[in-house]
């Protein structure tokens, strides 16, 4: 990443959860898309204030669980019917009862792996650094700060405009990081 398109982030601090929530609603209504809210504890209703949709992770996990299930059945069928048809304790080659433990396990394995890696991909992780980490103000997010960040790769981003807008929403402190 070169110096010209290095990302900038405007960080604004608000007084309370209620103000943060109101600010999030206004920012969403103003048309910003690359913004985020940070608080020391989860705030109920923030998802809808920010206009966040429910994560699609469940569908990814479901898809991979089903893939694991199918793969396990095909694998076992191929091994015990096609490749190595052996009679074991007088049971049919395709003994689906015996396949179920492996099928269950493989479905769970695929689902768990999909949950972890899907979560990383949806969160755009791993990434090595983010401009907010150079900010002193941002450290308050884990202590007593109710913060909004707007990133420079937002199509509507204009540093002075953003600052003015955040002040008009009642931000008591503003910092630019990056």
């Amino acid at each position: 990443m070169n110096v010209q398109n290095k990302m900038k982030v405007v960080i604004a601090e608000f007084d309370s959860t209620a103000e943060l929530m109101r600010a999030a609603e206004k920012i969403r209504e103003a048309g910003y898309t690359k913004f985020d809210c940070h608080s020391p504890f989860p705030i109920h209703g923030m998802d809808s204030a920010m206009g966040l949709k429910r994560s699609g992770l469940g569908y990814i996990v479901g898809f991979f669980a089903f893939t694991g299930l199918t793969a396990a059945i095909i694998l076992q069928w191929w091994a015990s019917v096609v490749a190595y048809p052996l009679v074991i304790s007088g049971k049919p080659f395709f003994s689906y009862q015996a396949y179920l433990p492996v099928t269950f396990s493989l479905a769970v394995l695929f689902a768990a792996a999909a949950a972890i890696f899907g979560m990383l991909v949806l969160n755009k992780l791993p990434r090595l650094n983010h401009p907010v980490f150079s900010s002193e103000l941002f450290k308050k997010a884990t202590d007593d700060g109710f913060l909004v960040t707007i990133e420079s790769d937002d199509p509507k981003f204009d540093e002075s405009e953003v600052k003015k807008y955040l002040l008009s929403l009642g931000a008591k402190r503003i910092e630019v990081a990056g």
Binding site: H44, G58, G62, S89, G90, K91, Q97, A98, L100, P101
Partner: protein, 394 residues
């Protein structure tokens, strides 16, 4: 049905109790008729109904002790439902009396002449004999009586004042209670249901019966809460968050039931030893084959697909239908365990089955409703009640 918004007690309990009592009496009259028409069938139908309602109460007892042990907050607002449900358990001792009289019809090990010609039953005779059977049944009911009594009384005492110690006390009762619960339920399932086919045994059988009971208890909670809200009771206190939590637990324990059921089947299928496989063979002959398939698909596959999504668990109409369906499946499961011992090929529902379910169930629900409506319908003295109302489930 009307509730006083300040004290949370029902000022008008509605007609539910009366209807249940009337249906119960009609059902019991039907039972009496059934006894004279076909005593063999009657005792098997009666045992099915008895097991269904007892396991429902036991499921509620387990849920309540789990709630106390984990210090769960979300379930406080619905706590009076399992409390009232399990406080009916001691009355089931009265319903057990006909089973003692029907021992000769139900349990072939109770015939001395059969035991005399059966080497295996002779070996089991020190455990499976009429006297010890009755002593054990008394022991189970004594344990359940004291557990349900202590848990209910302390919870009601909490209503008069916010005494934090009672929350602690209830937890301390629940810990040993859980151990007693595990033993009594396991041996009750062995005695009353498994010993009908005394040659056969399965060590996981008690867990299997427990799992079914818990699923039906959770389904019953959902139905009760939805019905209360339909009658404009607890409309603001219980939210879709609570429904979602109940739905998740129902779903989870439905899978647990299937897991245990499959484990039981799987080991027997793998080992393929005739004295073990015969039990499943009996349940795969004639009409019972369709009952077996209906249980596999109706108790696991279909509810699994329907209830897996978040939206489904928050859809009250769907949850209600599924809860009734799971209750029916639990009944069918018990029917499938008990009835093939009497009818080997024909899997047909008889009017005696319905009369027994109505008879025991009507009285059970009447007693449940009497308990439920006689005290505040939420534990008003619990300090965490407010948090429970504002639960958020994801």
């Amino acid at each position: 049905m009307k509730m006083d918004q300040k004290t949370y007690s029902l000022t008008d309990p509605g007609s539910f109790g009366k209807i249940a009592l009337i249906l119960g009496i009609i059902g019991l009259a039907g039972c009496a008729a059934g006894y004279f028409v076909d005593p063999g069938r009657f005792f098997h139908s009666y045992l099915t109904a008895f097991s269904f309602w007892t396991t429902l109460g036991l499921g509620a007892l387990f849920f309540l002790m789990l709630h106390h042990l984990t210090g769960a907050t979300w379930s406080i607002v619905i706590r009076r439902i399992p409390e009232s449900l399990m406080s009916v358990l001691p009355y089931m001792a009265l319903f057990f009396i006909p089973i003692i009289f029907g021992m000769k019809e139900l349990y072939h090990w109770s015939h001395p002449e059969i035991v005399a010609g059966d080497h295996l039953l002779q070996g089991k005779a020190s455990y499976l004999n009429a006297r010890f059977f009755i002593i054990r049944a008394v022991a189970f009911f004594v344990v359940w009586f004291f557990l349900s009594r202590i848990l209910y009384k302390n919870s009601i005492n909490q209503d008069s004042g916010s005494d934090g110690n009672l929350t602690d006390k209830l937890r301390k009762i629940s810990a040993p209670g859980m151990i007693l619960f595990a033993f009594t339920v396991t041996y009750a399932a062995f005695d009353w249901l498994m010993s009908m086919d005394a040659h056969w045994y399965s060590t996981i059988f008690g867990v299997y019966i427990f799992a079914g009971g818990l699923v039906s208890a959770l389904a019953f909670f959902s139905i009760t809460v939805i019905s209360l809200q339909k009658n404009k009771v607890l409309e603001t206190e219980i939210t879709s968050e609570h429904y979602h939590d109940l739905g998740k637990l129902t779903f989870a324990f439905m899978i647990f039931w299937a897991y245990v059921a499959f484990s039981q089947y799987f080991l027997i299928w793998y080992a393929n030893i005739p004295e073990e496989t015969i039990w499943f063979d009996h349940r795969y002959q004639g009409g019972w084959k369709y009952a077996t398939l209906l249980i596999v698909f109706g108790y696991f596959v279909m509810p699994f697909i329907i209830l897996i999504s978040r939206g489904a668990k928050r859809n009250l109409t769907l949850m209600r239908i599924m809860a009734f369906w799971l209750l029916f499946m639990h009944w069918l499961d018990l029917y499938w365990i008990i009835m093939p011992n009497h009818e080997h090929y024909r899997a047909m529902i008889s009017w005696i089955d319905i009369a027994a379910m109505m008879g025991v169930g009507g009285i059970y629900l009447w007693l449940f409703w009497r308990k439920f409506s006689s005290n505040p319908i939420v534990p008003v003295g619990d300090a965490r009640l407010g948090n429970s109302v504002n639960t958020i489930s994801n």
